[in-house]
């Protein structure tokens, strides 16, 4: 199919179907039904079997009219992970609802003793017939309070080195044995939680990948997550929308009467270059992957986004001036500066810290030698705890 034919088909479909007033659930159902939700996936799995490049054509047409729901083959890390590693029955039952946003999800990875060192998880899963019994504690789990399922990494073998005894599950959250306690964040919000798991159960049919091979599944899921975090960030307090990150700093500089300040102007240009540069890196990464070469630029996105968010928050704070001493609805300029300065750490800590990202870039992209790891080949039961 040519890009032009596809463009025409998508825009005709949107002209007939898209109405901003349409209820979201109903709209998403129509998008999934038509195969636009994940157009790069095969037809038997909700897609249209399009190349990556044509997938971008679909996304562009949706963007042009402001319609959500497509591009989930790139963004929906849950559906993508289930598609890659799940059994057919699980895929048939859950991918549709995931694409239609009918189930909500969370990531049960981090634990009190396993953050950057995720392979050190101690939550255990023990086999019991055709199900597994799970005990342990997770932490920093975003959206756990509302989630229907969590992507869970749990230890299933204690006698082998840490990377080789982990299994990956799609874990049902709504059951006795799951206790969720909200945590109070530096943004004064409570999106992330502690999750206590006590004799909770997950069917073996909800296992993604082989027993004890969960580390590989996790790498795929993390790659999706990091690529999403490199592409987008939250726009501001009180919205779950994604930042366009256009000229809002310029607008703020005008509003605050600082637009002629030469120091401010230098900062505005610097941030613009970071923002545009990230966009070009992402475009180039896509083009390189599309042309079949591996792209080193691909893995830089999250680190670049973190730098951009911290830097623009710094400039926003300097524009707010003394007003950044205040917070709350009576002082929206100060409030937003504080919110964005604090929330930037979501990107520089969540999904793997900037330090961990640099290590990954150094080792996997640049080929620099690994650090000595004292626990790499020890059976996990013999590894030292903090």
């Amino acid at each position: 199919m040519s890009a032009t034919d596809l463009r025409n088909e998508v825009s005709a479909w949107l002209a007939a179907e898209w109405d901003p007033a349409r209820p979201t659930k109903e709209w998403l159902a129509a998008v999934v039904e038509a195969g636009w939700a994940a157009p790069r996936w095969p037809r038997e799995w909700f897609g249209r079997g399009l190349s990556d490049e044509l997938g971008h054509v679909v996304e562009e047409e949706f963007r042009n009219v402001g319609a959500p729901g497509t591009g989930q083959d790139r963004h929906n890390l849950y559906a993508a992970t289930v598609l890659t590693f799940g059994g057919d029955e699980l895929k048939r039952r859950l991918i549709g609802p995931m694409l239609r946003d009918e189930v909500s999800m969370c990531l049960l990875y981090s634990e009190p003793d396993a953050g950057s060192d995720l392979a050190a998880v101690r939550t255990r899963a023990d086999r019991d017939g055709d199900r597994w019994i799970v005990n342990g504690q997770k932490v920093w789990t975003s959206s756990a309070a509302t989630a229907d399922y969590g992507m869970l990494v749990a230890r299933t073998n204690w006698d082998v080195p840490k990377h080789r005894g982990i299994t990956f599950f799609l874990f049902p959250m709504k059951q006795a044995g799951v206790e969720v306690r909200p945590l109070h964040q530096i943004t004064d919000e409570a999106h992330f939680n502690e999750v206590f798991l006590t004799d909770a159960a997950v069917p073996d049919a909800h296992r993604l990948g082989d027993v004890d091979r969960g580390w590989g599944v996790l790498q795929t899921a993390l790659a999706y997550e990091r690529s999403v975090m490199g592409d987008r960030a939250r726009a501001g307090r009180g919205t779950t929308g994604m930042a366009e990150m256009g000229d809002e700093l310029v607008a703020l500089a005008r509003e605050t009467g600082r637009i002629d300040d030469p120091v401010v102007r230098q900062d505005l240009a610097r941030v613009a270059a970071l923002r545009l540069g990230n966009g070009w890196n992402n475009q180039r990464a896509k083009a390189e992957v599309e042309q079949g070469s591996s792209s080193s630029v691909m893995s830089l996105g999250k680190l670049a986004m973190s730098r951009l968010l911290h830097e623009s928050a710094r400039v926003r704070t300097s524009l707010a001036g003394a007003r950044a001493m205040l917070e709350g609805p009576d002082e929206p300029v100060g409030d937003e500066a504080n919110f964005l300065a604090f929330n930037a750490y979501f990107t520089s800590i969540g999904g793997g810290t900037d330090q961990i990202q640099r290590t990954i870039i150094g080792e996997r992209i640049l080929g620099l030698p690994k650090e000595p790891e004292v626990d790499r080949d020890l059976p996990f039961s013999e590894v030292r705890r903090g």
Binding site: D247, V250, I259, P262, R265, Q266, L268, A269, R270, A272, A273, L276, G277, N278, W280, N281, Q283, R284, K286, A287, E288, E290, Q291, S296, V297, L300, L303, A304, R307, Q355, Q357, R358, T359, I361, G362, E363, I365, L366, G367, L368, P369, K370, E371, P372
Partner: protein
């Protein structure tokens, strides 16, 4: 062509330029030429034109060139930047050939472009980092034609140029003039540049005859934008090469019983430098394809890549010295050659702070 798609022809171009430069511009040659008065090898210059057609790459076919675009030119400049090629290429092609093209003066194009394309003519434009185009020279009409008087303090390859294109002030604003090698009253003083791989000269004009060209200030501004993008490509190539040196050294230098690249202080620095270097490459390539498409925001993009690629190259080259430790502080090690190129090229054609301001103005802010 969407930005960033690479054709097989473009891949071939990159490979053949890289091979040529590996052969003709290895570090030993760069160092040898840095110590000569002329600063480049005329034989290599001829071969660049004869074997590869590099000087004529972007010159239209009717004037002896290949009629290729800025993307192709960018590929060539990335490679030249990697190799620190000593040659008057940025001046002859990035400045002068571009100015002849943007001037729209067909007679001047027919007169000068074929010589540039075939590698016979070295050319430059008398614009300086220091001031606005035309700031230094005044042109006066006499019974005997136009006469130029004044000084341009930093002219790229001004010591060897066969052709100097001069923006000069007239009573009717800035106009362009062509001054040829033997013109009377043309004084050339070779300067001691911090970056010895690229020469500059102070040019003085004393009642020097100049042939008027079409195209005034707008032609110069347009040329400067195109040259900014060409220079950004060269900087991106230099940054990529400096980073390779750092990473290569970090893998082989052993201290405390480990390769230094296994220490996070070094590894993480390298990761940050990769982000700098790749961002410079993406920005330069994007701007080059925008130049080919004659994008309306080209002036803004040109200023943006001037400051962002300059800053990136300086950072990468500077940290490359640090990563090399003591050996990086020696004259014999190539790291400083890249830092000299980076620091100097950041100041050519307007420094980063100037272009940050200009970027905002050009985006209407």
């Amino acid at each position: 062509m969407p930005a960033f798609a690479v054709t097989p022809e473009q891949q071939d171009l990159r490979a053949s330029v890289r091979r040529f430069l590996a052969d003709r511009s290895p570090e030993a040659e760069v160092r040898r030429l840095s110590d000569t008065e002329q600063g480049f090898d005329p034989d290599v210059w001829k071969r660049m034109a004869g074997q590869l057609g590099l000087q004529g790459l972007g010159i239209p076919e009717e004037f002896g060139g290949a009629g290729a675009g800025h993307v192709e030119l960018g590929i060539v400049l990335e490679e030249m930047g990697r190799a620190l090629l000593c040659a008057p290429f940025l001046s002859t092609v990035g400045l002068a050939a571009n100015l002849l093209l943007t001037s729209g003066d067909r007679a001047a194009q027919a007169r000068y472009l074929p010589g540039i394309a075939e590698g016979g003519t070295v050319a430059t434009v008398a614009v300086s980092a220091a001031g606005l185009p035309g700031a230094g020279v005044v042109a006066r009409r006499t019974d005997d034609g136009w006469r130029l008087t004044g000084t341009e303090p930093y002219v790229l390859d001004g010591h060897v140029a066969d052709l100097v294109l001069v923006p000069a002030r007239t009573t009717a604003g800035v106009a362009l003039f062509a001054v040829e090698r033997e013109a009377s009253g043309l004084g050339r003083t070779l300067l001691t540049t911090a970056d010895r791989t690229r020469r500059q000269a102070r040019l003085t004009f004393t009642d020097t005859p100049g042939a008027p060209l079409d195209g005034g200030l707008p032609a110069v501004e347009r040329m400067l934008d195109l040259a900014a993008i060409a220079l950004a490509s060269e900087q991106a190539g230099g940054a990529a090469r400096a980073l390779e040196m750092s990473v290569g050294y970090a893998k082989t230098r052993v201290q405390f019983g480990r390769a230094i690249g296994s220490f996070q202080a070094v590894k993480h620095l390298c990761a940050d430098l990769l982000l700098e270097s790749e961002s410079a490459t993406s920005a330069a390539r994007y701007a080059a394809s925008a130049a080919d498409e004659d994008a309306p925001d080209l002036p803004a993009l040109a200023s943006l890549v001037r400051f962002s690629c300059s800053d990136s190259f300086v950072k990468v080259a500077a940290d490359t010295i640090q990563i090399h430790g003591g050996i990086g502080f020696t004259w014999e090690h190539p790291a400083h050659l890249y830092l000299r190129r980076a620091r100097t090229s950041a100041l050519l054609l307007g420094d980063p702070a100037f272009h940050r301001e200009r970027y905002l103005r050009r985006t209407g802010v």
